[in-house]
């Protein structure tokens, strides 16, 4: 130890340095061309196969491999889509003729609400996540996603939540206020329908954010060595953009759900104009989510097209930078569109003008994208295959939706067609063209990658033409119905309206679409055991996923390659042979652990070996109890929900304790090609740290939405906070803030001291931290309590209470994390060298401190100034 006698703090031991990669990188040609001894290779393959083996029997469902979870996820989302499609057929039957009474008004409202909700929340967004979980490791030559158990947890949450929400329709208690749930209609709604929507879908949104976190980390940290940011497959670029969009789009809705459910269960009047609330606040929060959502659905499908098109053209994508521009640009601009769903709400015309302008501007990156496809096809020679047929169909359909989109983005035109069937037609053209067609094209393209079997060319063609024709028959007449004045969401219309014929044609078309989708579904699930396996790269594509061996091996890639091209299979000769022979990285699993390589974010320089997790029951248990915590409050079983929530937290702790940040058997290991990598990293080099950072960014967005609500009320309501309002007690607010700063400082100090091997002091701080957090929480609660504010009387005290509840929940979580680190330190799981948990907890506390200070300001001094 290096000791300096002069200054007190200089006498502290130096911090333990973080291990860094050692050895050769990039590998030389000579190293790459050196053959591998076949006997060694065989032994390595046997070990890898054992490590990555799928669990069998009933344990199969504990699997976490990305290819398994991805398949369940995809099929579940597809199943929900079929059910939502059935609802659409029922809707079309009811509307086929004027004054029809096949469905009652109430049932019709349940059906259209669930059709929209299920298609959006149970099909479109989860399908992107499912597809990406399936594809991404393949595209990036990785063994698996960085957090396989998180994928599994997300899937089981999705399944439980989806069945709950969609199942409600069988009991005739489904939500019936529309998928947009506008208050006061939805807040006043009787029965449990709105609660099912709010709680069930919040549960799924949380799972969606979990998946987004994993996909972002997967894209920036799990690329193969050498795959710099300018070589990334375009699909990965889209995953990155969409992941970040989810992170900023979903939290406002979660915040909205939080307020909404508080109003429904505790009568806190956030949206009640009689008591200072405002129904439009929900519309803002909903559409800040809702419009980016459209692009969250659309961009992944474009991503699929950007994989199919270059393969069909036998040409690298033309204008790669342009496509990246398009993805990133669309991602940004899509957040400036939300008010175009609110053009008719009487907002200031100037404000409408901004959103109209931004809605037109977003056309430009989308147009760039489409022209990049056309240009690529023009540069190459197209070999027409089934996937490109679906993509071409998507192009034809989507351009119609895009062009009508240009029209409805003009505010005066929207005043006419808003909430009419013109919009129904427009949105289905964008979503079918921008999602369903390309996704099915993608399924035809990637099916041989997923299953090593081909789908039928003949059925595929039939399915395409049936769906394509049926779609246009169903939806083209809806434009006319809308222009004739037919509003949306009506369960019947009079004969005299003259809308009968166009509706009958639409209904007819809807059944043709259903037939087309059924043909596809049959092709997908028909038994294929007697069908021969495909060859290894049937489309002669250039990207890494087609290097996977046939028959399939659950290890993904035999060895993780070194990449120097955007299309390695086209440009890097011998790459597949070298991967197969184990010439590249991590060709072995000597320690019997699942591993993948972590690389730097921009230049993909290897940084460490990540030990990824294997099959587990704890994720299933955690998802089950999380589901309970969300679902039981619907039936007002609050105690049971609380117990379920506590059990969920316990299950998550069990999962983290037993499988994350495990002390490795050796600090460094040889990964092949003369490279030695650390087996344990903490801080910004670790994927877990990134995951916390990304999650907390989303969490901060949700919190920002609550703060936005305070300012929103202030602008929307001339008397906010009310002149005679009671405010929180400033003394206790200040005391709470000081305790939170102390708790944060204790956590931060514990991390610094622990790294400097002063373990005892670090433990002391980890004891002090939760105590200070608890005191701070008590002060914050007292500040509200002693003031005598009553949340049920007015939106102002209600919002203050909501912000305090939100903050307290986070402080409790922060305290649990401090105690987790303390326990780790005592049990030897957390040492001065292996301190990832403490880094992550400190990062959480950075965000938490910001939350607490802002919360203190917003509930304390700020309202006195407004």
């Amino acid at each position: 130890m290096n000791r300096n006698p002069t200054k007190f703090w200089r006498r502290w031991p130096d911090p333990i340095p973080h291990p860094k990669a050692e050895g050769v990188f990039p590998p030389t040609q000579a190293m790459l061309s050196e053959p591998v001894d076949p006997a060694t290779a065989e032994a390595q393959a046997a070990r890898l196969r054992k490590v990555w083996k799928l669990p069998t029997g009933a344990h199969y469902w504990t699997a976490v491999n990305n290819d398994q979870v991805g398949k369940w996820y995809t099929m579940t989302a597809f199943g929900f889509m079929l059910m939502a499609g059935l609802l659409a057929l029922a809707i079309r039957v009811q509307l086929a003729v004027p004054d029809n009474d096949v469905l009652s008004a109430d049932r019709f409202n349940q059906f259209f609400t669930m059709h929209g909700s299920a298609m959006m929340f149970l099909f479109a967004v989860p399908l992107f996540e499912a597809f990406s979980i399936l594809l991404l490791p393949g595209l990036l030559g990785a063994r698996d996603m960085p957090f396989p158990r998180l994928s599994a947890y997300g899937y089981w949450s999705f399944l439980i939540g989806g069945c709950f929400v969609l199942g409600s329709i069988l009991f005739d208690v489904a939500p019936s206020s529309g998928w947009f749930m506008y208050p006061p209609l939805a807040t006043e709604g009787e029965g449990i329908g709105p609660d099912i929507w709010l709680l069930g879908l919040s549960f799924i949104e949380v799972a969606s954010i979990a998946a987004a976190v994993e996909l972002i980390v997967g894209t920036i940290k799990c690329r193969p060595p050498g795959m710099r940011i300018n070589l990334m497959p375009l699909y990965a670029w889209y995953v990155l953009v969409v992941g970040v969009m989810i992170l900023f789009a979903f939290p406002p809705l979660i915040a909205g759900d939080f307020l909404f459910e508080l109003q429904r269960s505790l009568d806190w009047p956030f949206f009640d104009p009689e008591r200072g609330g405002d129904p439009l606040l929900w519309q803002h929060l909903f559409w800040i989510f809702g419009h980016p959502e459209v692009y969250i659905i659309f961009l992944p499908s474009i991503a699929i097209a950007s994989m199919v098109v270059p393969t069909a053209a036998r040409q690298p994508m033309v204008g790669y930078s342009w496509v990246v521009l398009s993805a990133v640009g669309t991602g940004f601009l899509s957040f400036g569109l939300w008010v175009h769903h609110m053009f008719t709400t009487g907002l200031p015309q100037l404000s409408l003008g901004f959103f109209s302008a931004a809605s037109e501007a977003v056309v430009i990156p989308t147009g760039v994208q489409l022209f990049a496809f056309v240009a690529t096809l023009m540069v190459g020679r197209v070999t027409m295959s089934l996937p490109i047929l679906w993509i071409a169909g998507a192009f034809a359909v989507f351009t119609v939706g895009g062009l009508t989109g240009v029209m409805v983005a003009l505010a005066p035109f929207d005043w006419q067609v808003h909430d009419t069937y013109f919009i129904v037609a427009h949105l289905h053209y964008t979503l079918f063209g921008g999602m369903v067609f390309p996704i099915i094209g993608g399924v035809y393209y990637f099916y041989p990658f997923f299953t090593k079997k081909m789908l039928s060319q003949r059925l595929g063609r039939w399915s395409f033409w049936t769906t394509f024709i049926g779609f246009n028959v169903a939806f083209m007449p809806m434009h006319i119905a809308g222009l004739m004045g037919m509003p949306r969401r009506i369960f019947t219309y009079p004969e005299a309206s003259g809308w009968g014929l166009v509706n009958l044609i639409s209904t007819f078309g809807a059944f043709i679409v259903a037939a087309g989708i059924l043909i596809f579904a049959w092709d997908l699930i028909r038994p294929k055991s007697r069908q021969p396996l495909t060859e290894r790269n049937p489309w002669r594509a250039g990207t890494l996923e087609w290097s996977h061996s046939v028959p399939d091996e659950s290890w993904g890639v035999r060895s993780i390659p070194y990449i120097t091209s955007r299309y390695p299979l086209w440009d890097q000769p011998d790459i597949v042979e070298r991967m197969d022979s184990g010439r590249y990285y991590l060709a072995d699993a000597r320690e019997g652990l699942r591993e993948t390589i972590i690389t730097s974010a921009v230049d993909a320089i290897p940084q460490s070996v990540a030990r990824v997790t294997g099959p587990a029951v704890c994720t299933l248990v955690a998802a089950f109890f999380t589901g309970g915590a969300f679902i039981l409050p619907v039936f007002h079983l609050y105690w049971a929900a609380g117990v379920s929530g506590a059990l969920a937290v316990a299950a998550v702790i069990w999962w983290l304790w037993t499988s994350t940040a495990q002390v490795p058997e050796t600090p460094m290991k040889d990964v092949g090609l003369g490279l030695r990598l650390p087996t344990y990293v903490s801080g910004p080099d670790a994927p877990g740290w990134w995951a916390i950072f990304i999650t907390m960014t989303g969490d901060a967005t949700a919190f920002a939405s609550l703060v936005f609500a305070m300012f929103y009320y202030w602008t929307a309501n001339p008397d906010f906070p009310p002149q005679d309002a009671i405010h929180t007690n400033l003394f206790w607010i200040a005391a709470g803030a000081i305790f939170f700063i102390l708790s944060w400082a204790a956590t931060f100090g514990a991390r610094l001291l622990n790294r400097r091997t002063l373990v005892k002091y670090a433990r002391a701080l980890l004891v002090a931290g939760p105590i200070a957090a608890l005191c701070g929480a008590a002060c914050l609660a007292l500040a509200f309590w002693v003031s005598g504010m009553d949340p049920a009387t007015h939106a102002y005290p209600a919002l203050v209470a909501a912000i305090i509840v939100w903050t307290l929940a986070h402080v409790v979580l922060g305290g649990i994390m401090q105690l987790y680190c303390l326990a780790g330190s005592l049990k030897g799981k957390l040492t001065p060298q292996y301190d990832a948990d403490l880094w992550n907890t400190t990062l959480f506390w950075h965000f938490l401190l910001a939350t607490c200070i802002i919360a203190a300001l917003v509930v304390g001094p700020l309202p006195r100034l407004l």
Binding site: D106, W322, T344
Partner: protein, 303 residues
């Protein structure tokens, strides 16, 4: 909207036809190009020219076209929301009907009506909108755009009808069970006819003249209809339901759901729930058929 009868709707209809033509041409060009490259396998194009295509088709062309559209629509917005020139119509959305007040003089007193909008041609009338309970949206397709009616907020719009005629308006924001059955009749008249009608509308209800109507009025008074409905000039002063003073002169019954006939009135009185699910109007099926007819005749006669 395709057969406009108002200034705003006509402008938007013209705008639509222009945009539709442009859209069809663009669609044919883009998809023709796509068909050409995928089916006909043309000569390979150089990558340089391909990038020019992306720049020209994806950036320059849309940036210019969209700017032109945007400039047109932004300059149109203030005109379509211009302040009205005299008449103010206040409309309040209820579940599922429309409370209507005409204010020819903003400082005077209103003329109360319901479920029908009458407007004069040749001037821009101010429409003030509000709602109780839930959000609705006020739309007359042939005249112009729509505006939402939001509880706790006042919203406004204005309309400038140009053609005389009978039209239909409807609620366009989903407002619950009978959203589909929340419509209204629209009558556009010449300024003179409108003035005459408004004067008539301001008067009290006509007293029943024949025996059946008189019997109908007795039933009306005896069944407590006046607790919810107002008939000016009588004891019925309820404010919960639509004003019935001149019910018989409206073109529709039950907010655009039924024709204004005696038999439709009878059906409505007997079982409103069947005709309009969730309606607050109670059923009067305990009345004898003869009494129901008398009541219907009385109501139909309130012209």
């Amino acid at each position: 909207m395709l057969a406009p009868a108002g200034r705003d709707a006509a402008v938007l209809s013209d705008l639509f036809w222009v945009m539709l033509t442009g859209a069809v041409v663009l669609w044919l060009l883009m998809n023709g190009l796509m068909l050409y490259v995928t089916r006909i396998n043309p000569e390979k194009m150089s990558r340089r020219r391909a990038e020019v295509l992306i720049l020209g088709g994806g950036v320059i062309f849309p940036a210019v076209t969209l700017a032109a559209l945007l400039v047109f629509s932004l300059s149109e917005m203030p005109q379509q929301r211009a302040i009205g020139e005299g008449l103010i119509v206040k409309v309040t959305g209820e579940k599922w009907w429309w409370r209507v007040e005409y204010w020819p003089d903003p400082d005077g007193s209103p003329i109360v009506s319901a479920n029908e909008i009458r407007l004069p041609t040749g001037q821009r009338s101010e429409i003030e909108l509000g709602a109780n309970e839930v959000i609705h949206s006020f739309w007359i397709p042939v005249l112009g755009g729509k505006t939402d009616m939001i509880p706790g907020r006042k919203t406004r719009m204005s309309l400038e009808p140009t053609e005389v005629g009978n039209f239909r308006g409807q609620c366009t924001e989903f407002c619950g069970l009978s959203h589909a059955l929340m419509a209204f009749g629209v009558v556009v008249e010449s300024p003179e006819d409108f003035k005459a009608w408004l004067e008539r509308e301001a008067t009290d209800a006509v007293a029943p003249t024949d025996a059946q109507s008189r019997r109908g009025k007795e039933i009306f008074d005896g069944s407590g209809c006046g607790a919810c409905h107002a008939v000016r000039g009588t004891d019925a002063t309820g404010k919960v339901g639509p004003d019935l003073t001149h019910l018989g002169s409206r073109t529709t019954l039950a907010a655009g759901t039924l024709p204004m006939t005696v038999s439709a009135l009878e059906d409505w009185l007997r079982d409103p729930e069947r005709l309009k699910p969730g309606a607050k109007m109670p059923a009067y099926d305990h009345l004898s058929p003869a009494d129901l007819t008398s009541l219907a005749v009385y109501l139909r006669g309130l012209e």
